[in-house]
Symmetry: C2
Subunit: 522 residues, 2 copies
């Protein structure tokens, strides 16, 4: 056997034979399975390591020349990567929209990679294609509540699509506005449509100077990205002020009329069902009415808040969502599915035909290949994770999860209001709220200094690594002119207890009181 | 304890305590770990089930009301989903670009979900952000071979980016052309740029009627999708004929000049390094020259073929790739990483600033958040899978894999040429080739009938489920006028033996000879 043949034989083993049970990688796996919380608390340790220090572990762009043993590499990952990761599972990590996951996703992740299907095309996904279509149907029903006949007709129709699965809310929002743009500038007897002839020709044909999209200042940054990508220009996203944190339908009506009088066509209104920064829900039913008046697309970004629809106690908070032409949902937020499970659903099963593509060797006409109407091409089978969650939790289970989150946010708001060092800056909406350090004892609210103090505390808390809240800058009802710096928390982790919340406030108060700005201000 | 409290207590268990080792899901996991090939051959069984039958398993859009036990659901997934999936691991499944994966990815998938980092933002990814930047640097070096100083300067720079990780080649191609468009129609003293003011204003300012992109007819369908999304219009993708399967640089030069004389600006030339249909590589160095002459962006779609650069024996086949302004690479193809690992790399570390975005609560200016210059927002940490593969295989290991694939394709071509029933329709390029049933004994090549026969055999073979080749329609050197139907195979699976290849040909010959068209034609 030559050296090359021997190396090749060794390589084949990596494709066929796992190492023994005593291998480092399998030990890690076992620990993950046995007790994820324990694994993370033991291995995610270096939370106060600076980013620069972490970067030193990952600053070699040279390709390694020689192979490394799997066990050796596993140890390397533990030391350099896992130890410096963020413990998103921790009940005191409440600053972002991801949280603890149900343990069964660990096993399913392995099944997903073992099957390694490609959802772009039915030949490499087969059962996953119908499964994904069913999941999209379930999400469609969650939002639009159509009857059985509707789903019998459209769920598996090759000429229709109830939505698209994608990596996340950004792609979902871009997809929705792409459909809106292509539908508005569609083909007619004298024009071949924006899809074929482009945006400039479309605007000219229909006599529009520009296309605008109306939303609130709390609209997700991905909407601006969408405007850029779609060629509409970021400045044509008109983000209306919202000191009350929600979009004022009357202001949208006025602005829309004003624009249309100037020859600028309103292409879409985007309402938000759970803003990223404060959790507020726009008046969806009223916005739908304005969209009808302005003859434009109505999109709802419910990436984070959409899961509220599972709860019969709280679904009413999203009243009017079923009037939307399209809705963005992220299962990796309040549906407790791992990262990478975004979706857009369309009310009209014909809608996505505005962006349908075909090719010879793939996505043949009449085929049910999912890639024909989605922005992404090759994709993995993440829909399975949501499918499993929907069955294992059931609607009832999700309702319990949603309800406990909202209850917890309300209890936390009370704790903040009862605490002399803090100010609740926006009341809890869904399970999100914002607050800041602002002791009642301070003479006057010197917001500039308070901003510095809040920013410093948030950073110190993050670096200490026991807990994490995020921060943002907001105009609020009490501070409508200049944005103030606030803490932002999302109470979605079912493992977070009231004790955790008290501990977080105590830590912040302690850090604040030790800070020199505190002394200056008191 | 009320019923609701009891249910909630049960739900918490799903977040904290795995079921016992005897649970169905853990049994499945164990089987996956012990012997993936055996798991798949036992459970992926119903390969001749019709799509309609599979759809019946997934035709209920109603949300399940009540929770289901995890073990019960695991059994359901095995019966309905896994059994009807495609065995992409099988050495006789050679029709697509995915293949068997090294076993360590199963464990890593579990680690990835256990950590559940969100790469959009450093606060929820921390070590994963530097890791992803390193991986992008490694891919940049694979393509552009810059020196250590270059990477020391740019790898972790907040104001630069060497590329973007994304779900797949489609998003990578869209990202590259997005950067090209925004760079071409950039801001100057009298114009705020296409990113802010949109495409129509950009065209007007620069005095272009339209923007065109030149590629060959073998260009990936995602390029047309990109033209649509970016507002350029699908018709402005000029796909030049290529009976030799590669783009003729002189034809591009002529067409480019012709367009520019008409006031249509050539925005980009897209060369392909490994076409999806035949594996051919365009003359990249010549195309780069034409791009320089036309003052346009040069993009190379090396989604599939890029991994060839790992092999010192075959890297020369991609000569000129380092002259590209941007390159698409898919690690889930010839780098043997699970689905969902696409990338685009940019020669100029400033390039992606043309699409940079900021937001208050996220992607703050000067931050190193990866979401600031990527099309996608929230994303998972797939880069870890490629990082691990690069270390565990090393460049040497990848070279062995690439070399064995190319050798195998060449051997398969000889088998086909030696077989009286088959015709090699395109010679092997990289590890891809096409062929068809066309017995020497047949009187004249009645291509219409042969197409029907080849199509029928491909379908029957797929339905029988022992093996899988894909099919497409192609113009070739011998048949330059009307496309013919051909089989298409990718010999990337290291587990595929010559015996497997003989078996595939035998099965096809047998199916063909039993078909009524064969009798008609002989």
């Amino acid at each position: 056997m030559t050296r090359a043949e021997a190396s090749l034989a060794h390589l084949y083993k990596v494709f066929t034979k796992p190492e023994g049970n005593d291998s480092r990688l399998l030990q890690i796996e076992q620990h993950l399975s046995d007790n994820l919380a324990d694994f993370l608390s033991r291995h995610v340790v270096a939370s106060n390591t600076s980013l620069e220090d972490i970067e030193h572990h990952f600053d070699d762009a040279a390709l390694p020349e020689h192979p490394q043993f799997v066990s050796e590499h596993a140890e390397h990952l533990l030391e350099k990567l896992v130890s410096n990761s963020v413990n998103t599972y921790s009940p005191r990590f409440i600053g972002h929209m991801t949280s603890a996951l149900p343990y069964f996703h660990l096993s399913l992740a392995k099944l997903l990679v073992g099957l390694n299907q490609n959802l772009v095309k039915i030949e490499t996904s087969k059962a996953f294609t119908p499964l994904e279509r069913q999941v999209l149907g379930m999400m469609h029903q969650l939002v639009y509540e159509q009857n059985d006949e509707f789903y019998a007709q459209y769920l598996h129709s090759a000429r229709h699509s109830l939505g698209a699965f994608c990596s996340g809310g950004t792609i979902a929002n871009i997809s929705a506005l792409w459909v809106a743009r292509n539908t508005l500038l569609k083909a007619d007897t004298e024009f071949r449509g924006v899809q074929r002839d482009g945006l400039a020709a479309g605007l000219q044909h229909y006599g529009y100077k520009k296309l605008a999209v109306l939303t609130s200042q709390r609209g997700h940054y991905s909407l601006r990205k969408a405007m850029d990508v779609l060629g509409l220009g970021r400045e044509q996203l008109i983000a209306l002020p919202c000191p009350d944190q929600t979009l004022d339908a009357e202001a949208v009506r006025q602005k829309g009329r004003e624009l249309q009088e100037q020859g600028i066509k309103v292409m879409a209104i985007v309402g938000i069902a759970g803003t990223t920064e404060t959790g507020h829900v726009d008046p969806l039913a009223e916005l739908a009415e304005v969209a009808t008046e302005l003859h434009c697309h109505f999109h709802v970004d419910a990436a984070w808040g959409g899961a509220t629809l599972f709860s019969r106690n709280h679904a009413h908070l999203l009243n009017g969502i079923k009037l939307a032409d399209s809705v963005t949902l992220d299962a990796h937020k309040q549906m407790y599915v791992p990262m990478g499970a975004g979706m857009v659903v369309f009310k009209d099963p014909q809608a996505s035909n505005a962006v349908r593509h075909h090719a010879q060797y793939i996505l043949r006409e009449g085929s049910k290949d999912l890639g024909a109407t989605s922005l992404e091409g090759s994709r993995n089978g993440m829909a399975m994770m949501l499918y499993a969650s929907l069955h294992i939790f059931g609607r009832e289970g999700y309702q319990l999860l949603i309800d406990q989150s909202i209850d917890k946010a309300r209890r936390f708001a009370v704790m903040i209001e009862d605490h002399p060092d803090f100010e609740l800056t926006t009341s809890p909406h869904l399970c999100l709220l914002t607050y800041r350090i602002r002791p009642a004892a301070f003479q006057s609210p010197d917001n500039e200094k308070l901003d510095m103090l809040n920013k410093a505390v948030q950073k110190q808390q993050r670096e200490a690594g026991n807990s994490f809240v995020s921060r943002t800058r907001l105009e609020t009802k009490d501070y409508p002119e200049t944005p103030i710096t606030v803490f932002r928390v999302v109470l979605a982790n079912p493992l977070t207890t009231d004790e955790d919340l008290h501990a977080i406030l105590d830590e912040q108060a302690q850090l604040a009181r030790a800070h020199k700005i505190w002394t200056e201000l008191s």
